[in-house]
């Protein structure tokens, strides 16, 4: 476990100018992994670039990342966070659960972690340890998502608008959508609707060319501003975000529209400031009107709710880190016991090689020596198996100088 490390260049530690330079893929680390028993997992998203490793020299890895990104090693150290051992696995669990994201609880990150893992498997840069770590990561993220309400409520105005539309119409693929305005906010909301399956999108803008551009991007239909009333009659979901100083949809207009629509339900999301829709229009029968303030206050509630849920999520993460540490500990305990018995073999071989006994006597002495040492080491091994804590393993390795001897043996 102590050999696990993580290098993270994220939205907290580095500006976007640095983050955009550090784009890592598992293929970049094949060389490092091929040299020994090392494992590497690389993850790059819009807010972070991270490398998790075990059995790889940290300095060599840092230099490799620096050379890949074109950022000097010294600068890289200033922009990155480095986690080791349990802290590294905790960080991975938190990242996958959306607890380390810019928007707490967002769920896209898990898909990105899974994609990166698929790439790592294809590149062959992960093995037993990181495979187990990543499977635990997916399990933890799933627990966080199902056992807490962290991702339950939307925390962006666009998502909230889409959610409201889904509650009214169910399947929004059958509901025509009208987007008034072609600015950033209207575009984001329209894209979210498109992602949720909206099929029939119409974009109206005073500047027709801007409407055409957004329509081309979203696969919608551009209309001139004069077609506003006609489209209001047809569409069930309306998103409006124009720069108009006065309302473009009035109560009188909506009275007429709703009458002609024969009271078919309609949801209007007005995210413009100043508002595009007269508040009175929301009083029309079967017309659901939400302005930016209404949506913002709901979204703020959801954000604070997510923060409340974070504590529950962190408890789950801690429990899972503990489980993983126990597993890693037992794995290291087995390795330590193996190393102890290798050390015993080495000691017997060196002792027997140094004496000049007759072969018959030498065999008896070796047998006695081996049996005594085995009996002695058995106690240590049993204790380690029963208590595979990191402290016990570390102390055993330090007392018997296993790490030094192990390396020396393999050098030889």
């Amino acid at each position: 476990m102590n050999r696990l490390g993580c290098l993270s260049i994220n939205h907290r530690s580095a500006p976007v100018e640095v983050r955009e330079k550090v784009v890592l893929s598992p293929q970049d680390f094949r060389g490092l992994c091929a040299r020994g028993r090392g494992e590497v997992y690389a993850l790059t998203t819009c807010n972070r670039s991270e490398v998790y490793w075990t059995g790889v020299d940290e300095l060599a890895l840092l230099q490799h990342v620096a050379s890949l990104s074109g950022v000097s090693g010294e600068d890289l150290r200033g922009y990155c966070e480095i986690f080791r051992g349990e802290e590294a696995i905790r960080h991975l669990f938190m990242v996958a659960s959306g607890l380390d994201s810019l928007i707490i609880g967002e769920n896209q990150i898990l898909g990105q972690v899974k994609d990166a893992y698929r790439q790592a498997l294809a590149a062959g840069t992960t093995s037993t340890f990181l495979n187990k770590a990543l499977h635990r990561t997916f399990r933890t993220a799933k627990r966080v998502r199902t056992e807490t309400s962290i991702g339950r409520y939307p925390v962006s105005v666009a998502s909230q608008a889409v959610e409201l539309a889904c509650h009214i119409f169910g399947d929004i693929s059958a509901s025509p959508v009208l987007v008034i305005g072609a600015g950033d906010m209207a575009g984001i909301a329209a894209r979210r609707l498109k992602d949720r399956g909206a099929g029939d999108l119409c974009i109206i803008n005073r500047t027709f060319s801007a409407a055409c551009d957004l329509a081309a991007e979203l696969g919608g239909k551009p209309r001139s501003f004069s077609a506003l009333r006609e489209e209001l009659l047809r569409c069930a979901i309306v998103i409006t975000s124009t720069g108009s100083p006065a309302p473009i949809i009035t109560r009188a207009m909506m009275d007429g529209v709703m009458k002609q629509r024969r009271n078919e339900p309609m949801i209007i999301i007005d995210i413009a400031v100043p508002r595009d829709v007269e508040p009175e229009a929301g009083k029309c029968y079967n017309c659901y009107l939400y302005d930016i303030d209404a949506l913002k206050s709901i979204v703020d509630k959801h954000v604070s709710f997510r923060q409340e849920e974070t504590d529950k999520a962190l408890t789950i993460v801690s429990a899972e880190v503990g489980r993983f540490a126990r597993w890693a500990g037992s794995l290291d305990a087995q390795a330590t016991i193996r190393d102890l018995f290798s050390l015993m073999d080495e000691y017997i071989a060196s002792e027997m090689g140094a004496n000049s006994l007759e072969p018959r006597h030498a065999a008896i002495v070796e047998q006695k020596l081996r049996s005594s040492l085995k009996r002695y080491l058995h106690r240590v091994a049993s204790y380690l198996k029963a208590h595979p804590t990191l402290t016990n393993i570390e102390q055993t390795r330090r007392i018997f100088q296993l790490d030094e001897d192990y390396q020396d043996r393999h050098k030889g």
Partner: protein
């Protein structure tokens, strides 16, 4: 004993669906569906056990009619229970059904015998149509309540997580419309059959004036609702409110006429 087991099963199934409303896990809904099926199977068997040579259809008394109404409404809800979007409707129907059955259960145990007039062809046609119509109105009532709850949540904007389980408004409105339409046809047919049955008995109309007035009032409420819906396109909240009002009037009339004027309808009339 079996009757009480059935009542208990209905209530427990309702608890399962309520759990599903707040804790949306697949095993919960699977258990709820299984229990619902078991409840209905027992209910059908019990209802069939009421029939015999002395009583060809189990609609010989207002209590049996109420039992049949709950059974028919349950058959509609079992259809909803097996659809993902509408499964939670059981959370609103089953507890009420359980309580209703609990109230009529002691009288159901007594058993009913059909009177000679009930063996006429118009009687089963009348009762089955009316009870089916009332069952559909009961379904419409529950759907209306769910509609108003869900709409209230949507108007506030904060979509509480239990609202995620509720069916979309448009779907609820469609179900409401279908139930009202079919229920109205059944009730209208039932009233016509009832009139034919009463005329075949050669009774004095003043004897059943109260029932005729009550039935006509209820019929008018639903006719008004359907007219507004299809002619003026009232949908959603207004239809839901009228349906709730209409159903409550129907219950008051059903209980009121049968308790206050026992001789003015059904078995009383047949005597």
């Amino acid at each position: 004993m079996i009757l009480w087991i059935m009542v208990l099963l209905y209530v427990l199934t309702g608890v399962c669906f309520i759990t599903y409303l707040f804790w949306r896990r697949r095993p919960v809904v699977l258990i709820a569906r299984g229990m619902f099926l078991a409840s209905i199977a027992i209910h059908i068997l019990l209802t069939l056990s009421m029939t015999g040579p002395a009583c060809p259809i189990p609609l010989a008394s207002p209590v049996q009619a109420a039992n049949m109404m709950v059974l028919l409404a349950s058959l509609v809800f079992i259809f909803f229970a097996f659809r993902r979007q509408t499964a939670v409707l059981g959370a609103f129907f089953l507890p009420v059904a359980g309580v209703a059955l609990g109230m009529i259960a002691p009288r159901l145990q007594a058993g009913e015998g059909a009177l000679p007039a009930m063996f006429q062809a118009w009687y089963p046609l009348h009762t089955v149509s009316v009870v089916a119509g009332e069952a559909l109105f009961a379904v419409a009532f529950v759907v209306s309540v769910v509609y108003l709850i869900h709409e209230g949540i949507i108007r506030k904007g904060h979509l509480h997580w239990s609202a995620a389980s509720l069916p979309p408004l448009k779907l609820l409105d469609r179900i409401l419309s279908a139930c009202l339409g079919a229920g109205f046809v059944a009730i209208t047919a039932g009233m016509l059959f009832g009139a034919l049955w009463a005329s075949s008995l050669d009774v004095d109309l003043s004897q059943i004036a109260m029932k005729i007035s009550a039935g006509a009032a209820m019929w008018l409420v639903f006719a008004f609702s359907l007219h507004q819906r299809f002619a003026i396109r009232w949908s959603g909240r207004r239809t839901a409110l009228i349906t709730i009002a209409g159903f409550l009037i129907m219950i008051i009339l059903f209980v009121g006429v049968n308790l206050a004027y026992p001789g003015a309808h059904g078995a009383g009339l047949a005597r």
